[in-house]
Amino acid sequence: MFKLWATIKKDCRVLIRDGIGLSLMFIMPIVLVVVVTDIQNSTFQLINKNKMAILVCSRDTGESGKQLIDAINKIGLFKVYNLPKNQDVKTIADSMKDKDALLSVTIPEDFTRKVKAKAKSVSNKAMVSFGLQADSVQKYTGDVSPLTLYYNPVIQEQLRLSVKGGLQSALQIVESRETLRTLYFAINEKPLPEKLESEMLSNKAAINEIPVSKNGSLRAPNAAQHNVPAWTIFAMFFVIMSLGGSVVREKVSGSFVRLKTLPTNFAVGLLSKQITYVAVTVVQAIVIFALGIWGFPLMGLPGLNIPLDVFGLLVVTIICGWCAVSYAICVGVFAESHQQSNGFGAISIVILAAIGGLMVPSFAMDTSLKTIANFSPMHWCLQAYYGLFLEGGKLTDVMQYLIPLVLITLVLQLITFLGLKRKNLI
C-alpha cells in the first residue's frame, strides 16, 4: 500500500508540474463548452427571439403580393424590410449587405394574377363537383410563379429549410384565402365576410411540445444540457495530452527500465496512473458541471440541470474517465515520442468525438456512420450522460451504455499490457 501511495504522490507531482498538460485538460474544454453553448444558444435566440432580417422585393402590385408580405410578417420568424420593385439580383445582394440581412425573397410580377387564376380554376372545379353550375370550367394552366429566395451561403442547411418551410406556409395562406373567397363568391354571389374568412383561416389546433423523460420531468432540455456532457467527455479524453506524454517520457527517459529492475510489480505503476488520472477526470467533470450550473446563468446562458440520480452521475463519470485514461495510457505505450503521442492523441480524439456524436448528433448520421459510432468510446459515454441529463434516467437505465464502455476499456487495458510486454517494459 505504501508503494502505491508513493507512486500516486509521484504521479500527482509530475502532473501538477505539467502546466501545459493541465491547461489543455482544464482551460481548453472550459473555453470550448462556453463557446459552443453560446453559439448554439445564439442560434436559438436568433430564430426565436431576435428574428432574422429578410428583404422582400415585390414586383407584384396586386392584392396577393401584399397579403403574402403580411403573412411573412405574421410567421414571427422574420423582420421584414421592403425593397423597391425594380431591383435586380446585384442590387438585392448589395441591399442584403447593407442591411445585414442573410435572406431576401422576390415576389414575381404576375403573382396576384396567377394566384387568382388558380383560385378560380379550383373554385370552378369545386362547383362542378358540388353539382352547381360554374361560370365555365376553365382549365388552369401552370402553377403560381415561384418566389425566389436569395440567401447568404453562411446560413446552415437546417436553418434554410426552416425559412423555406415558413415561406411555404405563408404562400399556402395566401392561396387558400383566395380560393375561399372565389368559391364563396361563386356560391353566394357576395364577398366572403371578413370575420368568417378570419375564422376559416385562423390557426387551428396548437402543438404542445413535451420532452419525453424517464423521470416524468417536463423541463425542456437547453443548449447547456446538450453541450456540457458532450464537452466534458471531450475534456476527459484530452487527459491524453498529459498522461500519454508522461508515459512516453517515462519510457524514453529509461524510468520504466529502471523500475523493472526494482522489487515491485509494474501493475502498481499502472494502477497508480489510473487512480490519479481518473481522479483528474472526475475533477474536470465537477469543474465543468459547476460552470454549467452556476457560471452559465451569470454569462446569460441557460443553466445546467444536474440529473436527480447523482450517484449514477458519479458512476458514469468514473467509468467514462477510466475509459479515457485507459485510452491515453494505451497511446502512450505505443507512441515512440512525445510529439507522436500528442499529435496522434489530439487527432484521434477529434475523430472519435466526431464519429461518437459529440460534434454531429448520431441520429443525423447515416447507417454506416452509426455502425462506426459504436466503436467510439465517446459514443457510449455520450449516450450514458444523455440518458441521465436529457432523459432523466437512473443508473440502471444507462447500464446498456456502460457495459460496452467497460468492455472497450478492458480491451484497451489488454492492448496496453500486450504492448508493454512486447516492448519488454514489464
Binding site: 508503494k3 509521484k10 507531482r13 529509461g254 524510468s255 529492475t261 522489487p263
Partner: protein, 253 residues
C-alpha cells in the same frame, strides 16, 4: 582469472539474440565476478556491454544458459533477485520534474524500503553526494554532474549487494567524477560488488581490480588489471584495449 570465493555474478553458457536478429548474439558466454569485487567490463561500441548488463539485471531474458546473482537465478525475476541489485543506467532514468528528495522517496518505496528508511537514506545520500542544498529543487534545472549524482543516489538507495553501473560518469566535470569514484570505492569497502562499464579507461584503471574485455559478443580476456597489463606488455588499460580490440571505427547502429 576468477577462481575461488563466493560469486556475486556467475554467467554460464549464455546464449542470447535480439528478436530482430540484428543485435549482438552471445553464444556460450561465461563470466564470473567475485563477491565484493570492483569489476570492469570494457569493449568498443556495439560489443555487447549494455546487453550483458541488461541480461544481468533481468531487463532482457537469455535464450539459453544461466545467470545467477549471489546464487539466485535471474530468470526467476522475483523480488529477492531485484533487491540484490542496484542499477545505475547511462541515461538519467528518473523524473526530471521531481526534486532529488521526491525521486528518492518514490524509488525508495519501489525498492522495498519503509518511509523511515527512505528518510534516513535520503539524508545520508544527499549529504555524501553534495546535493543537500538542492534537495527540494526540480532536477531538470540541474547541471549534468548533479543529474549524474541523483542517478547514482537512486541506484544505491536500498544498499544493494551488487551495483551495476553503465557509464556512471559520462559527461561530468572532474570534481563530480572524483566524488562519484570516491563514493563507489567507499561502497565497495562496505561490501558492495561493483560491476562497471565505461569508456573512461583512465578512470577505470583507478577503480577496477578485475577487468574483462568484450568484443563482438565474446569475452576476449578477463583477469586482474595488473596481470593483464603484464601479460600483454602494455602500459595502460587504453593501450591494452586498443591492442586487443583494434583501432578500426565501430559503428553501433
Amino acid at each position: 582469472m576468477v577462481a575461488n570465493g563466493e560469486l556475486a555474478v556467475n554467467i554460464e553458457d549464455l546464449g542470447f539474440h535480439y528478436p530482430s536478429n540484428d543485435g549482438v548474439v552471445f553464444s556460450g558466454l561465461n563470466l564470473k565476478v567475485r563477491k565484493g569485487e570492483r569489476f570492469g567490463l570494457f569493449g568498443p561500441n556495439g560489443a555487447g556491454k549494455t546487453t550483458l548488463l541488461s541480461l544481468m539485471t533481468g531487463l532482457l531474458s537469455a535464450d539459453s544458459g544461466t545467470i545467477t546473482l549471489l546464487g539466485n537465478d535471474v530468470r526467476k525475476k522475483n523480488n529477492d533477485v531485484n533487491k540484490l541489485i542496484g542499477f545505475v543506467p547511462q541515461d538519467f532514468s528518473y523524473y526530471q520534474e521531481l526534486s532529488p528528495v521526491e525521486n528518492l522517496e518514490f524509488f525508495g518505496a519501489w525498492s522495498g524500503l519503509t518511509k523511515q528508511q527512505i528518510k534516513t537514506r535520503t539524508d545520508e545520500l544527499l549529504h555524501i553526494l553534495g546535493l543537500e542544498n538542492v534537495r527540494n529543487k526540480q532536477v531538470d534545472k540541474f547541471s549534468g554532474g548533479m543529474k549524474r549524482r541523483v542517478n547514482l543516489a537512486i541506484g544505491v538507495i536500498h544498499n544493494p549487494a551488487i551495483l551495476i553501473l553503465d557509464e556512471p560518469t559520462v559527461g561530468v566535470d572532474v570534481q563530480t567524477r572524483h566524488a562519484i569514484i570516491n563514493y563507489l570505492m567507499e561502497l565497495n569497502k562496505n561490501g558492495t560488488t561493483l560491476i562497471y562499464t565505461s569508456h573512461q579507461l583512465s578512470e577505470a584503471e583507478g577503480l577496477c581490480e578485475e577487468v574483462a574485455l568484450i568484443d563482438v559478443g565474446k569475452i576476449i580476456t578477463q583477469d586482474s588489471l595488473t596481470n593483464l597489463l603484464k601479460e600483454h606488455r602494455q602500459d595502460s588499460l587504453e593501450d591494452l584495449f586498443l591492442s586487443l580490440t583494434g583501432k578500426e571505427y565501430r559503428n553501433d547502429v
